[in-house]
């Protein structure tokens, strides 16, 4: 039976995991995602999960267990954050390269050094070239919905690519919201049965996984891996639509907020988008024609759709909760600016890095950005292309 439950972000991931009931779950404790695993352990102990639950000695081992289990044809999940994801690095590429549809819940957190346990996107952004699909969630409901859809996307025959589901550490992972939890049987029906095509332990058809692949075929195999994630947009779109038809909450590549007649726009992912929407409302009341675009899918990057949505703007500010030291702008900014390059008429695009290490971002900061965009719209001049928000710089 579908119910409304008060759950925090971590619990929504655990709840979705209980409903999906994967064959193998392997995870190592790390703040702020630990509670996902703790809830799963309790579900397992209470007999609500039939799959195997393993507590390995590190995240590297956790992802290795997932890879082993997925190679054996299992439906597999894990959860981690920050340093845990960083320690998984080697295995992330293996999971993607072997086309293993693993799903990982990531309570996004800053990377050391200095040590910090609070939310930013450095962890998954650091893994942006690992070949995984990235979905980001604004709130607990989206974390739950994304996590269920992730299995469908990852396991689709044309995709067969692992998926990260990001939720902001503490801000979402530890905040309780009322979440619509769907009926167990409906969720099971939605995700369907996972049918591995090639798997180990099928003794009638023995295979080998991960052998040497030198100058002869490595390149072709990498190309075919890339094709998997290139096929993902159609599947993500289809699954998002179907999710809407089944549960009443449709999903696309991004959400547009008050964009219809907007002349300037703020692009921001995850929890900060909620604050951003409030700021947009206030700025609208002050007479500014401003909107907000919240990307949900970062990999594969929906560059055409994103460019179509933004091309008519006069000025766009892209807010990144991760830095890319030495690069020309932070990750989301470089993607968006690149996507707009081929349009003869395109907006001025500026970049702000915000919220590193959990630094708060408030309505007033978004309004600061809105005012800057308005100035650019009027003058057509960009004074500073890449800057920082709510940072002491003197």
């Amino acid at each position: 039976m579908k119910t409304l439950k008060p759950l925090n972000g971590n619990q929504t991931i655990a709840e979705a995991t209980r409903q999906v009931d994967p064959d193998v779950i392997a995870a190592y404790p790390i703040t702020p995602s630990t509670a996902i695993v703790e809830s799963i352990a309790q579900f397992k102990a209470d007999g609500l999960i039939t799959g195997e639950f393993v507590c390995p000695e590190s995240e590297h081992s956790a992802m290795s267990v997932c890879i082993g289990a997925a190679s054996a044809g299992g439906r597999v999940m894990t959860a981690t954050s920050s340093q845990g994801l960083a320690l998984m690095w080697e295995m992330l590429y293996i999971a993607a390269g072997l086309r293993l549809p693993i799903v990982a819940g990531i309570a996004n957190r800053a990377l050391s050094a200095p040590i910090n346990i609070h939310g930013d996107h450095s962890d998954t952004m650091g893994a942006r070239d690992s070949g995984w699909i990235h979905l980001y969630s604004e709130n607990c409901q989206e974390a739950y919905d994304n996590f269920i859809q992730a299995f469908r996307i990852a396991e689709h025959m044309d995709v067969r690519t692992p998926v990260f589901v990001g939720l902001d550490g503490f801000i979402i992972s530890h905040s309780v919201e009322v979440v619509q939890v769907e009926d167990d049987a409906e969720v099971k029906k939605f995700i369907g049965e996972y049918k591995p095509v090639y798997s180990l332990l099928d003794m009638s058809r023995k295979i080998t996984v991960g052998p040497l692949d030198f100058t002869d075929y490595y390149f072709e195999h990498k190309r075919s891996q890339i094709e998997g994630i290139e096929n993902a947009p159609a599947v993500i779109e289809q699954v998002g639509k179907e999710f809407g038809l089944t549960f009443g909450r449709p999903y696309g590549f991004f959400e547009e907020y008050r964009m219809e007649d907007a002349e300037t726009a703020i692009v921001v992912m995850s929890s900060a988008a909620g604050t951003g929407k409030d700021a947009v409302d206030e700025l609208r009341q002050e007479g500014l024609k401003i909107g907000l675009l919240k990307p949900r899918v970062f990999r594969p990057f929906p560059y055409q759709k994103m460019a179509e949505a933004l091309k008519k703007m006069k000025a766009v500010a892209v807010l990144d909760r991760a830095s890319s030291p030495g690069a020309f702008g932070a990750p989301l900014f470089t993607e968006i600016r690149n996507a707009l390059y081929d349009y003869a008429e395109r907006p001025k695009v500026i970049n702000y890095v915000y919220g590193l290490g959990g630094r708060d971002i408030k309505v007033e900061h978004f309004k600061e950005v809105g005012a800057k965009l308005e100035k650019i719209r009027k003058t057509g001049k960009v004074e500073e292309m890449c800057g920082y928000l709510n940072l002491r710089e003197s």
Partner: protein, 288 residues
């Protein structure tokens, strides 16, 4: 503030050894880590070691906070990697007394591989491991040291995996000094650390400590005092005990004492001797 009140303000007896701007510490009331830090500071004092020649490295976890609190050259490294960081420090400046101060989750769990190899190559470092039988910082998950049947947040109906016996592991990997104490044995811990300072090679001291907030609460073992009582009633000093006999069952008997004290050239000495033999006069010894 009146003069009288000011006069009553006693200086923390460890103030010279602590970064007072980081105090109060994060440890829970009844936690055993502070006791081990006090013993460590006491051992530093009694050994009259030049504090400019001591470096301390911690990993991540409750005990991992030690490096941030003591007023020594200190390094708060990443989870499990305290021993490799310490190896680098020691080799960078072989004159230093390098101490790794971390918990069981860090040293025996995620960092277990480094522990095994540093002991094997007899790296000249002192490892103090506060063992509270669980990953306490993240909320009491099952660890590599959790006794069978102990209840933990990721083992809600009890642990069924065999735990490590850390002194046995250290001995098997070739450590030159191996001791185990509990938080109750404050003077013994101090003496053990003093003794270990005098030795070369991979030295290992395990100190069993209460985790009141998580381990004890989940298992309904009472408060810090109850656990110290348990240590009192159930620990038996048996110096030189066969390290194969040191398993700790859930709330079972604990054999404590000094189990290993052997002479064995440490890593750098082995390297210098070997390379001198291989290269003769061409070899310039390092760190002698």
């Amino acid at each position: 503030m009146s003069k009288d009140v000011k006069a009553q303000e006693a200086k923390n007896p460890m103030e010279d050894f602590l970064r007072m701007d980081r105090i109060p510490h994060i440890w829970c009331s009844g936690c055993g880590i502070g006791v081990v830090v006090t013993s460590f500071v006491d051992a530093l004092r009694k050994s009259e070691i030049d504090l400019n020649k001591v470096a301390i490295v911690s990993g991540i976890g409750c005990t991992g906070r030690v490096a941030g609190y003591v007023k020594l050259d200190s390094f708060h490294s990443t989870h499990g990697r305290a021993i490799p960081f310490a190896t680098g420090l020691k080799l960078g400046n072989p004159e230093m007394q390098v101490v790794v101060f971390s918990g069981d989750g860090d040293i025996a769990g995620i960092g277990g591989n480094h522990f095994v190899h540093a002991a094997r190559r007899n790296m000249d470092i002192l490892v103090i491991c506060v063992n509270n039988f669980n990953y306490a910082m993240t909320g009491g998950q099952v660890a590599a040291t959790s006794p069978i049947n102990a209840n933990l947040s990721t083992a809600p109906y009890g642990n069924f995996e065999y735990p490590f016996s850390l002194p046995y592991l250290a001995d098997a990997c070739g450590a030159t000094y191996v001791a185990r104490w509990t938080c109750l044995h404050i003077r013994r811990v101090t003496m053990s650390i003093q003794e270990a300072f005098q030795k070369k090679g991979f030295r290992f001291i395990e100190v069993i400590a209460p985790c009141v907030t998580l381990y004890a609460r989940r298992n309904r073992l009472g408060d810090g005092l109850n656990l110290l009582k348990y240590y009192h009633d159930n620990s038996e000093i048996r110096h030189g005990a066969d390290t194969r006999t040191l398993d700790i069952g859930y709330q079972g008997k604990m054999i404590v004492g000094k189990f290993v004290d052997r002479e064995k050239p440490p890593f750098l000495e082995c390297m210098n001797t070997h390379m001198k033999k291989a290269l003769g006069d061409k070899y310039v010894p390092y760190g002698e």
